[in-house]
Symmetry: C2
Subunit: 423 residues, 2 copies
């Protein structure tokens, strides 16, 4: 159909979208392949899981982002193989030829060689994960309300979050606020305020990537919210009955996994070396060794920064890499000098804990408390995809701030609730 | 625990909620049992199916509606039996004793003795139905975009709506606008404007409950939107390949059922007489013959109006009946004179067809066109459950009106999209 240079982008996360937008200015024929039809604003996904926001507030159809860019096509399909010698990607049984390939397929959850834990401890990566977690949390309260024995009731009112990084901290704080504020007066046979929320972290402090003072602050905020924190305690086992931490079995029906990520895809498809987390070690221009026209960016890439550190799995890092490889490709297409090697610019880290409590670490500029919380909110609103989303999210946050209520307390799911009685 | 009069309400639709709110003023101990945790604003459900609104915009947690009413409890459970002699409802294996019982369990889809059609022609009753229909509609376009043969493409771009009542008319109009406006410029290998939308009605006109002039208007509006209308054509067969209408097989992957309702539950539980649609024939005070303390209201009740007509399955009818039976129960509890027999007051009928096109029939006050459309919107906003929902829906409608875009174009679902390749 066309003899233009073909660029395939696998994955429409922050990295893939940034690359595509930058490539729109080049005379390339771009196809984005993703197995979902939406781009997800991952940093707010936990708010879907805790009934604060609706999926459509933080996810937008990929093709809707490129309506105006006639040289960018989108294929809803799943990449299953790459044939570098034929320069083809295989997705959904079809072959997509490429001149340049950008792999921006992100990461999944790592259960540290315990895949059997997944059904009882879902992670938070996709919209359906968030809906499932929301369902489990809300259903636990509903089932406790109609349970006829106190032991079953207590088990249902225990909630365990595994992993003390930003996602774990945000989830634990949000579940505590849900139980102790939003749901507090809605039940007649149980007291939601009696719910136990336990945050389990194998390391010695929460938010390990932040300075110790901010970790300490996050911990005391969570404790004030009533969250129990178990540090230095790796999880031993998870099943339908509960979680074993050290020698203790904590009976619970609701476990949320926020403990580790794992990359699958690029390393296997290309048969190249990866680190233990599955990340592909890339060269200075983010291409794969011996495959100069294949690039790996975002969570899937192992990129070193300041001599030894791994570039973190954050949206700004993926975006910088996406724009960088687009520039490399455009320069090669136009026979211009290649850009200098990729250099990651760390902007900063943010995590929210609960109402009026967050931590901000921008290097020399550190912040905690209510000002950090408002700053966190502003930054997230600013980076939402468009004015419509920003207005809707702002409005819902504002309403929740004033009323202490949650707006999306729906238990939905394609699996029927009652046949068979499962949880 | 308490010796107060116990009232059980099965079903938290318009009727059940209205009854509970009115009973809050009485000294009764009320329990609402519903198998979902949300009250659904059914009249706008089709807008979730067509990606205009999110589920949480039109569904609210039942217990959240009764936070302030300490004598009203909510149980997320499914009624499976009633034992009138013991005065007990069985739900989720538990027994709930009652002094008065209100059955407000609504209706499901009737496939006219063809239950095998259901998987290929989902109806629009629950949130998950709307999400499933949204998924099928959007997925058809996505699959057409990557299909490699024209016949498969044409089949995927055929959409069939069965049933020419308000839901069918609204769905057909909304799918046409989705294809011909919202999606028009988002694809590169297909032209969404080439989609065929076929509305099939067994009777001789659309919107049979409206005056013929408004039916005619609705038909010409839909035809202008590019909808094909097949009147007097009962459906012969539905399967994964398509729909057989008369002698013609229309190949399609997307069929939506809006043709008939059926009541299940109350008749069987009580072993009493029902009409062909499963409705329980009730007495003048909406109680079940020979069961003076059991009431049936809403879609599940057969109530006659103006001598011969069946009270329609509309929200105002269910609400009137809910308030009425609450008054009957309060009067009996307080030994006051019973209210006079139930009399349905018909307010009117509304249906929207598409942008700036709707029909309104309030008896002597009839309206069509843009004024009817704005009136339709105002009425629906007014009846939304609270100011938050009204603001969010208004904002989304306003944004869609200005930009011609849809805000919730997400393909989600717990079943994975790709393994096994199904549709």
């Amino acid at each position: 159909m066309t003899t233009k240079t073909k660029v395939i982008i696998a994955g429409a996360g922050f990295g893939g979208i940034a690359a595509a937008k930058r490539l729109a200015g080049c005379d390339a024929d771009v196809t984005i392949i993703d197995r979902r039809n939406y781009h997800l604003f991952q940093p707010l996904l936990y708010q879907v899981a805790t009934a604060d926001l609706s999926p459509a507030d933080i996810a937008w159809p990929i093709r809707g982002l490129f309506t105006r860019y006639r040289n960018i096509a989108v294929a809803l399909s799943e990449v299953t193989a790459i044939n570098p010698s034929a320069q083809e990607v295989v997705a959904g049984g079809r072959r997509y030829p490429y001149d340049y390939l950008i792999l921006a397929t992100g990461s999944g959850n790592s259960y540290f060689n315990h895949p059997e834990w997944e059904p009882d401890a879902p992670g938070l990566k996709r919209i359906i994960d968030a809906i499932e977690i929301r369902k489990r949390i809300l259903l636990a309260f509903e089932q406790a309300e109609i349970a006829d024995n106190p032991a079953a009731q207590r088990r249902l009112l225990n909630f365990v979050v595994i992993g003390g990084g930003p996602t774990g901290v945000e989830m634990a704080g949000a579940i505590a606020e849900l139980a102790k504020v939003a749901l507090a007066r809605d039940f007649r046979h149980i007291d939601p305020k009696a719910a136990r929320i336990v945050l389990v972290e194998a390391g010695q402090r929460l938010l390990a990537s932040f300075p110790p003072a901010l970790s300490q602050y996050a911990q005391s905020c969570l404790e004030q919210l009533g969250v129990e924190i178990a540090l230095g305690q790796p999880v031993q086992a998870i099943d339908t009955q509960g979680v074993r931490i050290g020698e203790t079995l904590l009976p619970t029906a609701t476990v949320i996994w926020a403990a580790g990520v794992k990359v699958e895809g690029p390393g296997q498809w290309l048969g190249v070396e990866t680190d233990r987390g599955g990340r592909v070690a890339v060269t200075a221009d983010l291409s794969v060794p011996n495959h100069p026209n294949i690039f790996v960016i975002g969570d899937a890439a192992k990129v070193i920064w300041e001599g030894e550190k791994l570039v973190p799995g954050l949206a700004p890092a993926a975006k910088q890499q996406g724009r960088y490889v687009a520039d490399v490709i455009c320069a090669r297409m136009e026979n211009r000098t290649a850009p200098p090697p990729f250099r990651y610019r760390h902007v900063g880290s943010l995590a929210t804990i609960g109402r009026n409590a967050a931590v901000v670490d921008f290097g020399r500029f550190k912040l905690k408390g209510w000002l950090a919380w408002w700053f966190w909110g502003l930054v997230h609103i600013y980076f939402l995809i468009n004015a419509r989303a920003a207005t809707l999210v702002l409005l819902q946050w504002f309403w929740a701030y004033l009323t202490h209520k949650k707006g999306a307390r729906l238990i939905t799911g394609l699996r029927p609730l009652f046949s068979p009685p499962k949880r």
